[in-house]
């Protein structure tokens, strides 16, 4: 909310520097986002008059100007502009001047002739047409007609004698979306009295009932509707002070009646509307719900289709305004208007909010209605508008006002134990301090015993309970008075992480210790990612949660796998010429039961691994997966994967029993190509919840015994298609309980072994805990292993 310092001074004496005022507002809860002091941005620019123009001897396009700036001597300035003539009044940037663009002007020579400054354009002074007529003209700003003496500071000419504060008003303080509201807070923090806006006018145009008949049909959506009439109006530009103040807060002056409604909106915070009385059929104003499909062309010249959730302000036949949002063209004030009806109403804020959103139509008026207008402002706003009409002689005012009020205008009384305030704050605030602070905020307060009895004004409908009062008291008593305590009266609790949270930490640590760096990627992705991953049309991974209002198509669905995000990270690093990299991330995937989504999707935490580089292959990447599996004691099997985004020969799905818990593999070359990379990319994903579910729980002592192990190695020839897992399963089952370790330590291929054959060397370790094994026992076991390998896998001993 922008407020002008001069405007504030209408209502409160401000005797502190603007920066000190800003600090005080901040400590009272009003963030000052910017202090706009236009005068300080333009320095040493004055009003001057061109007395003589001559051609530059060495440049066709340059002219030498002799400028009268109210000093004895004229000033010589060279200009390239062609729109100047002798006798013109112009803004002159003198030697060592500052322009609002930040540009500093110094004297210099142009084609050998001295130039002691610069003539300024509207653009160079950062003026728009609204600020000064002619400001947008290409060339120098011509200011003919100005009455100020030559040499007058341009800030004075432009009226830059005001400072504007841009104040952040929090959503609970809708009463401060106005100059008066801010002035009220300033009066409190400075300890000064608040002057209410000047009200006073005479009525000379009959009764308001001669002009309009108001009926509120939906009191819920329209708790209060007030109206007044003005006859024989004169449409003209507003008085200079009104124009200047509107401009200072960024509004463009239009004509007097529009300006007055805007002026009251900014000053009092009450949105106003002016109807052309003659355009209201039947001289009726009816506040009713719109009929479904009812249409209105609003003041923005666009047609809007209304429905019965919206409040319309209508005459006998048709909607004339979308209540609280925008007026209609069919009833607007124009140059032929004779009589007008002012509207000053309160509408239900949630309803205005919905209407504005549904129609996608937002205005200064709807902004304020959405935040809430108190029940006191309707009368004040109307009186203020009529006062301005009377003061400037814009028309004749009818006697009386219409007031359709269906709201309770009594102030609520709140009784709160003062001790309760102390309990909330943790300090004891002197009772007289509490009472004086609340009263300074116009919350009428007396102390009965130790009970605060408060009457909050209607504009403070946010004051409802002890906590609200505690906040009002402490923000003005000062947060510096809050001391530091450490929940001395609270109960001790045992904190920490759950086992599942600790498991995630463990998984992350394993990844880090294996050289993987953690990434952070968006949870949303592009629906096209499913095509990049070559998912079939009926792949369940395509079933995803869709964002209704995404920032873009590429971030419009919630991911159902982390593969695509990881591939994007890998590819982006390849494209940045990073030679090798290892990444991981633990994040959720979002798995809806059905689409469109009607209940919260299942959110599952997944680990994704990604790597590339010349030393990476399926087995190097699988190492970290196996490290996690080992750490959590999972009994897994690896089986060739059929995932469409993985290399069909170099990928595996990982199972615990029948349950898939993840996969590992090389990215399908076509998928990698879709990311514009030729490198081999590797990815793996593990379902964290499954890791936690199937993990080995705790540790148990297992006796190792003092008896020595016996080791045996065998080498067998098998078909290429026989897998390591099959060989080891066979060896282990034949080995029985005395076999403690079985592992493959070499795989060898050679022409002498035969085509499509390989030689596999297996190391076996046998041990008993209660006695030393005999050679015969071990040999018998090895024999059994060999027999089984031969019968089950067609192996031959080498």
């Amino acid at each position: 909310m922008k407020v002008s310092l001069n405007w504030l001074k209408d209502f409160v004496d401000i005797d502190v520097d603007v920066h000190e005022l800003a600090d005080k507002l901040v400590s009272a809860g009003f963030e000052v986002e910017e202090i706009i002091d236009k005068a300080s941005q333009t320095k040493n620019v004055v009003l001057g008059k061109i007395v003589k123009l001559t051609k530059h001897p060495d440049a066709d396009k340059l002219q030498i100007c002799a400028i009268d700036v109210g000093q004895k001597e004229t000033v010589q300035i060279i200009t390239g502009a062609q729109n100047v003539a002798e006798g013109d009044l112009v803004p002159v940037a003198m030697d060592n001047s500052l322009l609002p663009t930040g540009q500093v002007i110094k004297k210099g020579k142009l084609r050998g002739i001295e130039s002691c400054g610069m003539l300024c354009s509207g653009e160079e002074l950062m003026l728009t047409e609204a600020d000064y007529k002619g400001a947008s003209v290409y060339g120098i700003l011509i200011m003919n007609g100005e009455k100020y003496p030559l040499g007058t500071d341009i800030n004075v000419v432009l009226g830059n004698d005001d400072v504007v504060l841009d104040i952040g008003v929090t959503a609970n303080r809708s009463d401060c979306n106005s100059v008066l509201g801010i002035a009220r807070e300033i009066a409190t923090v400075l300890g000064k009295p608040l002057r209410m806006p000047e009200i006073g006018f005479e009525c000379e145009a009959g009764e308001v009932s001669d002009y309009v008949d108001v009926k509120v049909e939906d009191a819920q959506l329209c708790p209060r509707y007030m109206a007044a009439a003005v006859r024989d109006i004169k449409i003209c530009p507003s008085a200079e002070i009104i124009q200047k103040r509107l401009r200072s807060v960024g509004l463009r002056p239009i004509t007097n009646f529009v300006d007055i409604t805007n002026y009251v909106l900014i000053e009092i915070g009450q949105p106003m509307h002016a109807f052309d009385a003659d355009k209201l059929s039947g001289s009726k104003i009816i506040a009713r719900r719109a009929a479904n499909g009812e249409k209105i062309v609003a003041l923005d010249n666009k047609e809007y289709t209304l429905d019965d959730s919206m409040l319309a302000i209508c005459d006998k036949d048709k909607p004339c305004a979308i209540a609280g949002v925008m007026g209609g063209n069919n009833s607007c004030v124009d140059e032929n208007t004779k009589d007008i009806i002012f509207e000053s109403a309160k509408f239900a804020r949630d309803n205005i909010r919905r209407t504005a959103r549904t129609l996608n139509l937002h205005s200064d008026s709807s902004f304020r209605y959405e935040r809430g207008i108190d029940l006191e402002s309707q009368r004040l706003g109307l009186m203020r508008a009529l006062t301005l009409v009377y003061k400037y002689g814009y028309g004749k005012i009818a006697k009386g006002v219409v007031d359709c009020c269906n709201a309770d205008l009594t102030q609520k009384t709140l009784r709160v134990d003062a001790g309760r305030i102390d309990d909330i704050l943790g300090i004891v605030v002197p009772r007289d301090k509490m009472v004086s602070i609340l009263n300074s905020l116009q919350i009428e307060t007396v102390l009965e015993g130790d009970t605060l009895v408060c009457k909050a004004p209607l504009f403070r409908d946010d004051i409802e309970n002890a906590n609200d009062l505690a906040e009002e008291i402490i923000r003005l008593y000062g947060y510096d008075n809050i001391v530091e305590t450490l929940m001395d009266k609270g109960k001790q609790t045992v904190g920490g992480k759950t086992d599942d949270q600790k498991a995630v930490d463990t998984i992350k640590n394993i990844c880090v210790n294996n050289g993987y760096s953690e990434t952070l990627t968006y949870s949303f992705t592009s629906p096209r990612s499913f095509d990049v991953l070559r998912l079939s049309a009926d792949d369940p991974a395509r079933k995803c949660v869709t964002i209704l209002n995404p920032l873009g198509e590429d971030v419009s669905v919630m991911r159902t796998s982390l593969a695509y995000s990881m591939m994007s990270v890998l590819a982006s690093n390849v494209l940045k010429s990073v030679k090798n990299a290892r990444f991981f991330e633990v994040s959720n995937v979002y798995l809806p039961e059905s689409v469109p989504v009607d209940k919260q999707p299942e959110e599952r935490e997944r680990l994704v691994i990604g790597a590339y580089g010349k030393d990476e292959n399926f087995y190097t990447v699988n190492e970290v997966v196996r490290a996690i599996i080992d750490k959590f004691g999972l009994k897994v099997t690896f089986a060739r994967s059929k995932r469409p985004y993985l290399h069909s020969g170099k990928s595996a799905d990982i199972f615990v029993g029948k349950f898939p818990i993840g996969y590992v593999g090389e990215v399908h070359p076509s998928v990698a190509a879709a990311f514009d990379v030729k490198e081999r990319l590797y990815v793996a994903e593990l379902d964290v919840a499954s890791v936690e579910k199937y993990r080995k729980k705790g540790y148990k002592f297992e006796e190792i015994g003092k008896y020595p192990p016996v080791e045996r190695d065998i080498a067998v020839t098998v078909d290429e298609s026989v897998t390591a897992a099959e060989i080891l399963a066979c060896v282990t089952s034949a080995g029985g309980s005395m076999m403690k370790i079985a592992r493959i330590f070499d795989v060898y291929r050679n022409a002498s072994i035969g085509e499509n054959k390989k030689s596999v060397a297996v190391n076996m370790v046998f041990r008993l805990t209660d006695r030393t094994l005999t050679d015969e026992e071990v040999s018998a076991k090895v024999e059994r292993v060999l027999t089984k390998l031969t019968s089950q896998l067609g192996a031959a001993l080498r």
Partner: protein
């Protein structure tokens, strides 16, 4: 005789001394101390020594034998040591050469900061709570005193997934879920991803928050200040101070913005703090009694405080990262610098 023995001993000792290898030494030992060695021969010749001199000569011989034996043992030890030294010298390698890269990965800087914050609060008795990111309007807004069509909804633009379903805009719905589920005393911290439709140098459509909630008897605004002050000293440095500024959040009353003294200039004023000496790091307040009541907790008996902060923002402040988007670029070189 004595002279003879002494000469023999001296010669032997000199030979021991001169031995160049364990093999050389062995030969010397055999020559003097062996079965047919010279000293042994002397002993054998004892029978020719007059009986009265035998003990004296015997002692001489024994002394000589001991001296040679000891010297040989010493020498052998030294020679073996030397041989090992020589062997090791031959095996010497270039210890400055690094044939393989150190393969240590890294946690994301935001995770480092999150872990630090979580550790501080768990040590103060806070449990880590989590909740769904796809939330219902009730938990994200209504229960937190943000009714439908309330202007406070403008404070948090929202990604919608359906009529009542959305991506949570803050971690606060976990407060509601926890309070509905557990009885006080409650002390939780809630780290997690949150979503708002913003995308620029200081905003990301997905970011991480961590928030805390305490609900117990007799919890006050002073307790909030004490805990946050302790937290700020742990997270930044021990001289860090905090200050409260009034603010507004629908779910706390009173509500405050919390500033900490700038960790770079310690309050003198610098670019990081825009010359103010203070940096805004979190929002906090006394839990609004309406929220307690919405969650079935008697607000006459219990009170509490809540606070929340953006993990990315703290990460940027702590590590001097100028643009939030860097945190989401996932450049391997950037990430690995946090090893």
């Amino acid at each position: 005789m004595k002279e003879k023995i002494e000469n023999l001993m001296n010669t032997a000792l000199a030979e021991v001394e001169q031995a160049q290898s364990v093999a050389d030494l062995a030969k010397v030992k055999v020559r003097y101390l062996g079965k047919n060695g010279e000293l042994t021969a002397l002993l054998r010749g004892m029978k020719d020594v007059p009986a009265d001199q035998r003990p004296v000569v015997g002692a001489y011989v024994n002394t000589a034998r001991d001296a040679i034996t000891n010297a040989a043992e010493e020498k052998e030890k030294a020679l073996k040591e030397k041989e090992i030294e020589e062997k090791m010298a031959k095996e010497s390698i270039d210890v400055t050469y690094e044939p393989t890269e150190v393969r240590l990965g890294s946690l994301h800087p935001c995770t480092l900061v999150k872990n630090e914050i979580v550790d501080i609060f768990t040590s103060l008795g806070f449990s880590v709570a989590q909740g769904p990111e796809v939330e219902l309007d009730f938990f994200n807004f209504q229960a937190l005193n943000i009714p439908k069509d309330h202007p406070a909804r403008d404070m948090q633009d929202t990604f919608y997934l359906g009529e009542d379903m959305l991506l949570r805009t803050h971690t606060s719905p976990v407060q509601v879920r926890t309070m509905l589920d557990k009885k006080p005393p409650i002390r939780i911290v809630v780290p997690g991803k949150v979503y708002r439709p913003d995308d620029d140098a200081t905003h990301s459509p997905m970011f991480q928050q961590i928030e805390g909630l305490v609900v117990d008897k007799h919890i006050t605004l002073c307790d909030l200040k004490g805990i946050l002050s302790l937290f700020a000293k742990e997270l930044f440095d021990k001289n860090t101070k905090i200050r409260f500024r009034p603010s507004y959040f629908p779910f706390t009353e009173p509500s405050v913005e919390v500033d900490v003294t700038c960790s770079q200039c310690h309050g003198k004023g610098c670019r990081l703090c825009k010359g103010t000496g203070w940096i805004e790091v979190l929002g906090a307040g006394v839990v609004n009694p309406k929220v307690l009541e919405n969650c079935g907790i008697d607000s006459n008996e219990y009170s509490g405080f809540a606070f929340g902060m953006g993990i990315e923002r703290i990460t940027m402040i702590k590590y001097g990262i100028p643009d939030m988007r860097i945190l989401f670029e996932n450049d391997a070189r950037f990430l690995r610098s946090f090893r």
